[in-house]
């Protein structure tokens, strides 16, 4: 079962009552009985009976809902139990982390949407089949919680995983952490001369529900989310908005990076609210951190004092709504109508846009008359139980839901004390169908020296490449061929601080990865010898639309599966790849001046520079000898070309030197060798 936090279908009516777990379990049984009864009545098996209410037993027991955490070996589970208390969503969910060496890395999440809840006087048992953000056979989960009185400390939860056959998997003992499902640090900054909202008494104007003082913190607390005021609260001079004193989205982003003392370009449970003066478009508020494809989005929002400020009860009420609403976007909550819930009485709806089903009245007056200052159920489920990267600030891009199997390859190391640094780089713009090659560089940050396995190409198995596509889906690059590498190590130290490699990641086992125009994000993870996962920076690259008819024709010639294989293998004579080779021949014949022709020269030149053995059906080996002169002609062009990445150019230059040597041009070979050495030194950053 997959979960879309923005899908329609959740109940729009909100339960106000605080429930204990017996009541929830009782209601669940009653619902099941009612459904069975209705089925029986409908089928005519029994006559309709008047409904009777069962007794509800109230015990002075501690509620079991909240957050728990435990670890087994290097795996840590953060569990959320949501079966009693205020507006229980009758779910359990969890996030799993790997503690590896000095790093803690997010692995994935799960959620049980319709568990069976069994309550005895001594125990609460919650079990069901989970939906996971990753593949696992052990997808059945049972959580047991001893029942204790309110005078006793909260008991630990025991979490057991099972497979379909009932075989037991991992067992976690998870002590209680908090009554809140998630905890977020909130930093609030403001422009000089503005005053941050503090609280509003919901009884100040007629409304439904109990009157209470609500702040941003307490509004989120009612949703089960702990907002901790944190960081340094800055007063920002208005000059950041430029001479017009009105803020653009990019000025707001810049203000965030400058003033948000907790900011990092990584996913983290930290968010920034900025009280500014005015937006250039006159908004009341905006979650402005939604457009930067290279950044980790949803980390900050702004509210505009000139539009929302004031002291009347109406204005204070609207101000509270705007603050909570904009922060809701940082949690990846969409507007109500974008989820098909225009009739939701939610922070995420507009009062004037409130549109319940007829004949109920809509509009602003109806909204405020019925709104009890809450999120709707679908939003609560997202806030409390959404897969971690779909919720955490800086996780998935704005509006991108959870559930990608490969999303963990975009997971950051929560802590990294490994002494190593992995960098990934590439051009920031590629032509449509152009082979995407990334450069990888592993460096030591500990000049006492770090021993590493010197294999950075993904085919060697130590580096994984995550690719976030323009539509937000994350996939892992899977090389066509996995190599088994020898157990070799090198020491990175002050004299030799880094190793480099490049990898063509445009085509792999899943086909073409950059097959649509748009902006992609790419990240790498290196598995170090002590188990640490070294996460690289994230790069953003844009694949442009084809501009001319020639671009389209060349793109067609590159976007074949055989061409992808040939690019991965850097050439082959195989009969099974004849169409691909023919396509590259056509590129060289007809479009030799096109920038992408360099890649055809690369493939053909590398293939020509080496022998190729083929086995005939009668098991004879036929060797095609290297064609050095052809290779020299083709590779000379590539070695000096501007399109190919630097590492590949260096590799091609070395190969060119070898071919020159093979045909007896020792002077040229020597010169080319020196050129290759300079190129690779430049990539390593070690000078000549």
């Amino acid at each position: 079962m997959s979960f879309d936090p923005n899908a329609s279908g959740y109940d729009l009516e909100i339960q106000e009552q605080e429930l204990d777990v017996e009541t929830v379990a009782q209601l669940q049984r009653e619902e099941a009985n009612e459904e069975a009864l209705a089925d029986a009545v409908e089928s005519g098996e029994i006559a309709e009976q008047p409904a009777t209410a069962g007794p509800v037993i109230t015990l002075a027991k501690r509620k079991v809902s909240g957050r728990y955490r435990g670890a087994v070996h290097n795996s840590q589970l953060e569990l959320r139990v949501d079966v009693d208390g205020t507006r229980p969503m009758k779910r359990i969910s969890g996030d799993l982390y790997t503690i590896s060496g000095a790093t803690t890395t997010y692995n994935g999440s799960f959620r049980v949407d319709a568990p069976t809840i069994t309550v005895t006087t001594s125990e609460v048992k919650i079990e069901g089949t989970g939906s996971f953000s990753y593949t696992t056979a052990f997808n059945k989960i049972r959580v047991t919680l001893p029942r204790v009185t309110v005078l006793q400390p909260p008991a630990a939860a025991t979490v057991r995983f099972f497979n379909a056959a009932g075989a037991a998997g991992a067992v976690y003992n998870c002590p209680f952490v908090s009554a809140f499902f998630r905890t977020v640090q909130l930093e609030q900054d403001r422009v000089t001369g503005t005053t941050l909202f503090t609280s509003y008494n919901t009884g100040a104007l007629p409304h439904i529900g109990a009157a209470r003082n609500l702040s941003v913190v307490s509004a989120y607390a009612e949703a089960g989310i702990e907002m901790q005021l944190a960081g340094v609260s800055n007063i920002v001079p208005p000059a950041g908005a430029g001479p017009d004193l009105k803020w653009t989205d990019s000025e707001l982003h810049n203000a965030m990076v400058t003033n948000f003392s907790l900011w990092k370009n990584v996913p983290q449970w930290k968010t920034w609210l900025f009280l500014a003066t005015s937006h250039v478009n006159g908004y009341r508020g905006i979650m402005f951190d939604y457009y930067d494809p290279a950044g980790n989005q949803r980390q900050g929002c702004a509210v505009f004092h000139n539009e929302v400020g004031g002291t009347s009860a109406e204005i204070q009420r609207a101000m509270l709504r705007t603050y909570v609403h904009e922060l809701g976007h940082c949690f990846n909550l969409l507007h109500s109508w974008d989820k098909g819930r225009a009739g939701a009485l939610s922070w995420m709806n507009y009062p004037w846009r409130y549109a319940p089903l007829p004949p109920q009245p809509g509009g602003e007056a109806a909204y405020w008359a019925k709104f009890d200052f809450q999120f709707d159920d679908g939003e609560l489920i997202h806030l409390r139980h959404g897969f971690r990267n779909a919720v955490i600030m800086g996780g998935n891009n704005w509006a991108v839901g959870a559930g990608d199997n490969d999303a963990q390859d975009f997971a950051e190391a929560v802590e990294d004390n490994s002494g190593l640094k992995l960098e990934i780089s590439a051009r920031n713009r590629f032509a449509f169908a152009e082979p995407v090659v990334v450069e990888l560089k592993l460096s030591t940050t500990d000049m006492r020296g770090k021993v590493v396995a010197p294999y950075l190409h993904p085919k060697d198995g130590l580096v994984r490449i995550g690719i976030r596509k323009p539509n937000g889906n994350v996939v892992t690059f899977r090389p066509l061929i996995d190599h088994c590498v020898e157990e070799r190590t090198v020491t990175l130290d002050a004299s030799s601080p880094s190793i480099v490699d490049s990898a063509y990641v445009g085509f792999g086992n899943d086909g073409f990865y950059f097959d649509q125009a748009g902006t992609y994000q790419v990240r790498a993870i290196y598995q170090a010898m002590d188990g640490s996962r070294i996460c690289s920076n994230t790069i953003s690259l844009r694949v442009a639309h084809p501009v001319t008819a020639t671009d389209e024709s060349v793109a067609d010639l590159f976007l074949g599966e055989e061409q992808g294989i040939l690019l991965s293998l850097l050439g082959s004579d195989s009969d099974f790849l004849k169409k691909g080779n023919d396509a590259f021949e056509l590129v060289l014949d007809k479009y030799a001046k096109h920038p992408l022709a360099s890649y055809a020269e690369l493939v053909k030149g590398m293939d020509a520079s080496q022998e190729f053995k083929r086995i005939t059906p009668d098991r004879k080996i036929i060797v095609r000898e290297p064609c050095y002169e052809e290779a020299t002609r083709l590779l000379s062009s590539v070695a000096d070309g501007g399109e190919i990445d630097r590492v590949t150019q260096a590799m091609v230059t070395y190969r060119l030197a070898q071919t020159q040597e093979a045909i007896g041009d020792e002077k040229a070979a020597k010169s080319t060798h020196e050129k290759a050495a300079r190129k690779i030194s430049a990539v390593r950053g070690t000078g000549s």
Binding site: H279, W337, D338, W352, N471, G472
Partner: protein, 171 residues
């Protein structure tokens, strides 16, 4: 009111209204051409002029009108394929009422207007699709339907339409 292919019409059912009474304004955008036309109704932010298509309602009365309400939130909804309406030749649609899943918005200036005093009031509407860049229509920079939406946008006529003036007397 019209260019060669499209026109926008306003109509109000009664000639007279009372002070404080809602004035129901009906809007129709009609295809005057012999070819079907793709068009887009009022989107989140269209009325405030922060995205295309722009729908600018005007009300002129005996007194100055109060300033327009600010847009609540700058994260305006994405333009999706379902938000395109196909107008057969000679047919029209109400751009504030989404059909087949389109998420159209009411024009708040019209729906929330209550005449504050007696006199003559004139209602009109300007519709513009004259964007400089197609990204000005999208709402969000990236989403799954973006490529298809950009393609469909090439089929939307680039026009500025001025409606007729619909007037009422308030007593």
């Amino acid at each position: 009111m019209a260019n060669d292919s499209l026109a926008v019409f306003l109509s109000i059912p009664e000639k007279q209204y009372a002070i404080g009474e809602a004035v129901p304004v009906t809007i129709e955008i009609r295809n005057l051409s012999a070819q079907p036309i793709w068009f887009v109704g009022v989107m989140d932010g269209s009325e405030e002029g922060v995205r295309y298509p722009k729908y600018a309602p005007q009300i002129v009365g005996p007194q100055a009108m109060p300033p327009a309400e600010p847009l609540e939130c700058g994260l305006v909804s994405p333009l999706r394929m379902k938000d395109f309406s196909l107008l057969p030749p000679g047919q029209g649609f109400d751009p504030t009422i989404g059909q087949n899943g389109a998420t159209y918005f009411p024009l708040r200036k019209f729906t929330e207007f209550r005449p504050p005093s007696a006199g003559r009031y004139e209602f009109s509407l300007t519709v513009s699709t004259l964007s400089q860049q197609e990204e000005e229509w999208l709402g969000w920079p990236e989403y799954d339907e973006k490529a298809a939406v950009l393609q469909r946008l090439t089929e939307v006529p680039r026009v500025q339409l001025q409606s007729n003036v619909a007037s009422i007397e308030v007593r």
